[in-house]
Assembly symmetry: C2
Homo-oligomer: 385 residues x 2
């Protein structure tokens, strides 16, 4: 095996430098991408093949500058194939798809003993906020077929989050019915960017389809402030990319509150929701605030029968990337305790994005039991593995 | 003096039952209201008098049900005049304005030894998001004149936050120039509801006018999701009132990030901003997240020269109402520590709203120094008293 460079981080507060050999990690956020539209053509109906050839995937952009694609984390050497997995640029190039997988395997899956890795996509995060719901559904379908054939089939460590579009819930249900029984399909993925908070009854058919099959919903940043999604904050469009990153926890809060206030978890008691890449500690203040207000206002939402924090801890999970960095370990552990991390937190790497977190650098050294919960058991329960 | 019923709370985790005789409190959020349009008529130009007589103040409503106006906190007896100050209904009635002040004085200002109380208004919170900017400015002007004459003039404990409309920054500047030197005017107030995050350069003339006079900006919930403000979350309009309350910290986060990312505190180093009634602990995760991202992304906002948390601690203040309720005191104190409460937190009562916080029930027993910072010194520095 080539040098496992993911195991050689430059900064590593809790780093041991060695994976735990007795624990197969579960990584809840790995991105496979098909940004080159051509790869999806074989999976699309003729009418959309023609449209894509003519005008591309039409995924709406937000206009915010992300990070320089030609830059990369300096602690990540290039792979044997010359592709830097810390740089998003690699998987823009169809010809390097194979290398992309090889880099993932050599740098992350093998050396860190990753037993299961959730493919969350990203090519179709904007599907829900492009105007044509049939085209959006067709793109998701094509992306899912491509994912199963080109990713899931080549490594049984991969589990798949189905891409669906929320712009027609019935179409989303049909896709879950079509592929939800595939042995590697273990979740359904939507972007944070939305026209309505996800607790709204508009979406309930999708949640029912998820709940019936034990598929959790994964909400991942994508398309916020783009297309028909509207402004990515409650006070309009910010100016800079860093502001859009700070808006992610705000959107996670809005969706989480909506799920709870609309009684979704009473209606679908087996439904679970994972917020990936929205940071973590928003969960703490939100639970405290919701609980206090529920005591005064619960007559307005009588279907919310328990403390909101109880629904949160039972039904909502939060991904570890980007893991916030408290000023000291005492604060870190207090926050983990306050968010009930032993139930709510799962490890997510966000591979191969520039700010991905390898398992060694994500946390200070966790107590053994919490380590197992965060790196494996919470996710195993979430995905029914 | 009549019975000081505010001093007899039913639940009081840190309650002493007695005010500190050696510490005059500063309360950063007291609401005076002129919801009956008639009281403002004498202060309006003729054209707007006619419009208001014809169609009222035209403050946009959000359509969310708040709380039953006829309900009230059961631990608050009625005042001698028969008005329950825990119920918003009283100050809808012009004829009871006098009683409203008396209730405030007897229940809150006198017994709790409140030395200064910031009048933050609320009648005009929606001014910034109604279409006509000249009408909006005229309403704010009238409300300020009414406030100075009917509230500030009758009790020198009152300090005043000027109402302005952000829908024409030049008009807002003119109002600050007109009344900013009044000895009781100590702040400028805007609602959280906005068409653009408050760091945007569109608003900078207002911030310059504030900074030049040492007047902090107070951002208070109001008009979010109403009129031209757009959706109150980054994912659209929620369904229930409790969700709009949870959206307040989200909006505070978006505005705070915007101020920092746009370099407002570098441009106007004397500007301070107080977020009232948006809860508190959002500040913790936000500072950690901003600091981490700034290290990676600061090339995109080179005017942000220091760690974002340093701007936060130096320039942003957070009101204590509604004070979040951690699961235990250890968490409470750690959160206060993590948000740097000794600099950032000020006491706000939100009188006379149904969920107002008297000083005794707001906190567990604070250490002497922190008690002084939160209940008096932070606000004294903020308002230059």
């Amino acid at each position: 095996m080539a040098v496992a460079f993911g195991a050689q981080p430059v900064t590593a507060p809790g780093w041991t430098g060695r994976p735990k050999t007795d624990l197969a990690l579960i990584d809840c956020d790995i991105h496979q991408s098909a940004k080159n539209p051509e790869v999806l053509l074989p999976y699309l109906p003729r009418v959309y093949q023609e449209q894509v050839k003519d005008q591309g995937l039409r995924m709406p952009g937000s206009g915010y500058f992300n990070v320089p694609k030609r830059a990369a984390r300096t602690d990540l050497p290039t792979t044997p194939a010359g592709v830097n997995p810390g740089c998003d640029a690699d998987h823009h190039d169809f010809t390097k798809l194979g290398d992309n997988y090889e880099a993932l395997r050599e740098a992350h899956l093998d050396p860190w003993n990753v037993g299961k890795a959730l493919l969350t996509g990203n090519t179709t995060y904007g599907a829900s906020v492009i105007p044509d719901p049939d085209f959006a559904a067709a793109l998701c379908r094509a992306f899912n077929d491509w994912t199963l054939e080109h990713w899931a089939a080549r490594d049984d460590r991969f589990i798949v989050g189905l891409s669906v579009s929320a712009s027609d819930p019935q179409r989303a249900v049909e896709e879950i019915e079509r592929l939800g029984e595939h042995p590697q399909v273990k979740a359904v993925v939507l972007g944070t960017g939305a026209r309505l908070p996800y607790g709204n009854r508009y979406y309930h058919p999708i949640w029912r389809a998820c709940a019936e099959r034990g598929l959790p919903l994964v909400v991942h940043p994508g398309a916020e402030g783009s297309g028909m999604a509207g402004a990515p904050t409650g006070v309009g469009y910010p100016t800079y990319y860093i502001e859009t990153r700070m808006a992610r926890p705000q959107m996670a809060m809005a969706h989480a509150v909506s799920f709870i206030a609309e009684g979704v978890f009473e209606k679908y008691p087996t439904l679970k929701v994972l917020f990936d890449e929205c940071d973590q500690f928003w969960a703490v203040g939100l639970m405290w605030h919701m609980d206090a207000d529920w005591k005064s206002l619960r007559e307005q939402t009588p279907w919310v029968k328990r403390l909101p924090s109880e629904y949160f801890v039972d039904h909502i999970r939060v991904g570890s990337q980007p893991m916030l960095e408290p000023e000291n370990d005492e604060q870190f552990f207090m926050m983990l305790d306050a968010m009930h991390a032993e139930k709510t937190l799962v490890y997510s790497s966000d591979w191969p994005h520039w700010d991905w977190d390898d398992p060694a650098t994500t946390f200070p050294k966790l107590p053994e039991r919490l380590h197992k919960r965060v790196f494996a058991e919470n996710a195993r329960e979430l995905f029914g593995l």
